[in-house]
Amino acid sequence: MRPITLIRNARHWRTGERVDLGFREGLIVEDPGTREAGSVIEAGGLLVAPGLVDLHAHLREPGDSVKETIATGTRAAAAGGFTSVCCMPNTQPVLDAAVQVEWVRERAAAVGYCRVHPIGAVTMGQNGEQLAPAMALRNAGAVALSDDGRPVVKAAIMRRALEYARHAGLPIVCHEEDPTLKGEGVMNEGFMATRLGLRGSPNVAESVMVRRDVELAALTGGRVHLAHLSCAESLEALRDAKRRGLAVTGETCPHYWTLTDAAVGEYDTNARMNPPLRSAADRDAIIAALADGTLDCCATDHAPHTADEKRAPFDQAPDGIVGLETALALTLTYLVKPGHLTLQRALELWTDGPRRIFGLRPVRLEPGDPADLVLIDPDAGWTVDPERFHSKGRNTPFAGWRLTGRALATVCGGRLTHVDPAVHVARARRDAAAAPSTG
């Protein structure tokens, strides 16, 4: 991760103008003509944008390093163009105490390839019963609270959690799922599940909980962020909440705008996730809600599992797919290329959108901003090969897909965290007379 002092000849993601960007001590500086030791990237007309942010990733550490580690997960993030990842607390142990949050941050600072912002648990052990110490978690660096992986089943607990989280000023990220309506469902309820003889989980298992938490946001004034929305009914509920001016935001994931439950095919466990892939009508509703601004941001729900775990009969396999290394390309290929979203709007969903929701420091590519950015070739064609992933997880339904658009270099805090071999990085000419004696 060598320091970068200059990016030459990039194209600004908003204006399209040719820009040079200089960096010093992790920040963007006014005068790009720096002479400090470092490397220069010849961008050759590549798009430069703020580094992507993933509000919703499972880095699996501590406890499940066989699936992923902070090192491998953040390396995958850097390869996908991300400079910040918010990691979910459903680890072992659960991130429900300051010491756990601190451990993740220290570990990330030591071995990570991007900024890692931990999300603390809503309840102790994510058991849905006893509130976790929101203030201590925030002071340790948590940027949000969530029991993701499972819902907060009891409405009264969610109410108290939203009230208490106001002290910490943190949003609660809601994994919406009514366990009684979901039952033992392993995929979307509908024709595909019926045909395959698999138990289905209906859209309303998600949307009734969305409705509940919208009402609780109204009651408490707490901030609700709806995780991985998958169906039309939930989007309607989010629209209603916004109409009422409530502090409710929502995200969706690339698999919900690219795939439907037909992807399960002949029991492909890489098409098993929670919430499940829905119908074509739901997929279209997701795209419409991204276009009309109902959805505030995208997230990956990156959920690595081992090959052994996924190599099981469908209803015994774990939920989840990896997403960090395909997110950008799935956005450009399926939202921008068909014309649903402009390139700028699509990138906002991965940059300004998530930064605003979690109160992360803005990156506008202006002097004084963090030097967190990505160089993108929006036209690069490539084929998804899970064997080449940096993530330990190979569980993706997109293997073999031909996609368009790719992050070719990622800079985080002024350091080069990922670079494609095709990008030319020149060691800056060290002017012996001008070079400082120390770096």
Binding site: G44, G45, L46, L47, E189, G190, F191, M192, A193, T194, R195, L196, G197, L198, R199, G200, P202, W257, T258, L259, T260, A262, A263, V264, G265, E266, Y267, R283, D308, R311, A312, P313, F314, D315, Q316, T333, Y334, K337, P338, D377, P378, D379, A380, G381, P397, G400, W401, R402, L403, T404, L408, A422, V423, H424
Partner: protein
């Protein structure tokens, strides 16, 4: 001969120059989701979905030949001599297991049985490891019954042996479906076109229902389903059947009726108020049977709850072909084993794929 030119190396200085090189795929492109590649492999019988009319009729013809040979006696035959069949029953079953075992032995196969109790599975071994071990032992055909829908697909994907689905979860039970077709062909004098079957009861949990439905549709018959709304799966009309509001409407003018087994556990999940209510509203009574055509028959895949799905009077009536179904089971399974054995690749020492496995046909 023309050789396609490799595209030039990407020119980073002009990313726009490469725009349009890659065509925009529609969602789902690159992964043929609607394909059933495993289904179509003749080594396997994973389900009746996707099987064509000719394929099904060939199997039924073969089963009739087998039935005649079995009636004439002289077992065991040597159709499957040298073929090793593993019966992997990871869920309780009596009639299907016995039926497959008899069929395999009648054809001269070496048969071994693996059940959940006492097997490595109960010691925590994964299904994947179990099947790897089985493969290492040199099995030719695996007959599998499993509580997980799709488990036979899992085996077919990870083993290079033939896999016969003997019932997977609530998905399919293709040999049951075929023997139902065999029974109906007898009852309907060989003609499926224009015939209609009423399927009554718990469709959601029934693998028998799906197989019967796919099979009858392929042969040109139609299917009407009826049952409590709590036991009808979402989008079931998409399977190619029509929904009736009442059991009377479904049975009126039908050429056969199949009552599906009702599991007593369904009461616990809040799916049904009581067995008594089910029997009154959806049970096959003599009055309801009389609504069907004159030569219509009554089927039940068993095991039957007398007095619930079917009254004793109907079960024991001359309309009932329930025991014919059981009898046809052995012959039908002989035909299926022979078909899958004939299609298997050459394996092991001196074993020939050309063994007269298919001769029963």
């Amino acid at each position: 001969m023309k050789i396609a030119q490799a595209s030039p190396a990407p020119d980073l200085a002009s990313p726009g120059a490469r725009a349009g090189l890659v065509s925009s795929p529609a969602p789902g492109d690159g992964v043929p989701h609607h394909d059933l590649p495993l289904h179509r492999d003749p080594r396997h019988l994973l389900g009746l979905e996707g099987l064509g009319r000719a394929e099904i009729l060939a199997l039924l013809d073969a089963a009739e030949t087998c039935r005649a040979r079995l009636r004439a006696g002289g077992m065991p035959f040597d159709d499957l001599r040298g073929v090793t069949v593993l019966l992997g029953f990871f869920e309780d079953s009596t009639r299907t297991r016995v039926s497959f075992e008899l069929a395999a032995r009648h054809l001269g196969a070496t048969v071994t049985t693996l059940t959940t109790a006492g097997s490595a599975i109960s010691k925590g071994e994964s299904l994947y490891d179990t099947v790897q071990n089985v493969r290492a032992m040199g099995v030719d055909l695996v007959v599998v019954r499993h509580m997980a829908s799709g488990a036979p697909y899992f085996l077919a994907r990870h083993l290079d042996v033939g896999v016969i689905n003997a019932g997977d979860g609530r998905h399919e039970h293709p040999t049951q479906g075929l023997l139902d077709l065999m029974t109906l062909r007898d009852a309907w004098q060989g003609r499926f076109e224009g015939r209609r079957l009423a399927l009554v009861g718990d469709i959601a949990h029934s693998r028998v229902a799906r197989s019967a439905l796919f099979g009858l549709r392929a042969l040109g018959a139609s299917v009407t389903i009826v049952g409590p709304r709590t036991l009808l799966p979402a989008g079931v009309e998409g399977l190619g059947c029509t929904l009736a509001a009442t059991v009377e409407e479904a049975m009126e003018g039908a050429d056969a009726v199949m009552a599906l087994r009702l599991q007593r556990e369904r009461m616990d999940g809040g799916l049904l108020p009581s067995l008594g209510e089910f029997a009154r509203v959806w049970g096959l009574t003599p009055e309801r049977v009389r609504l069907m055509n004159r030569d219509a028959v009554v089927l039940h895949p068993g095991p039957m709850n007398r007095g619930v799905e079917v009254t004793a009077e109907v079960a024991d009536s001359e309309r009932s072909v329930i025991l014919d179904q059981v009898q046809n089971g052995v012959a039908l399974r002989c035909a299926v084993l022979a078909r899958c054995a004939a299609a298997r690749p050459v394996r092991g020492f001196g074993r020939s794929a050309g063994r007269p496995g298919g001769e029963a046909a």
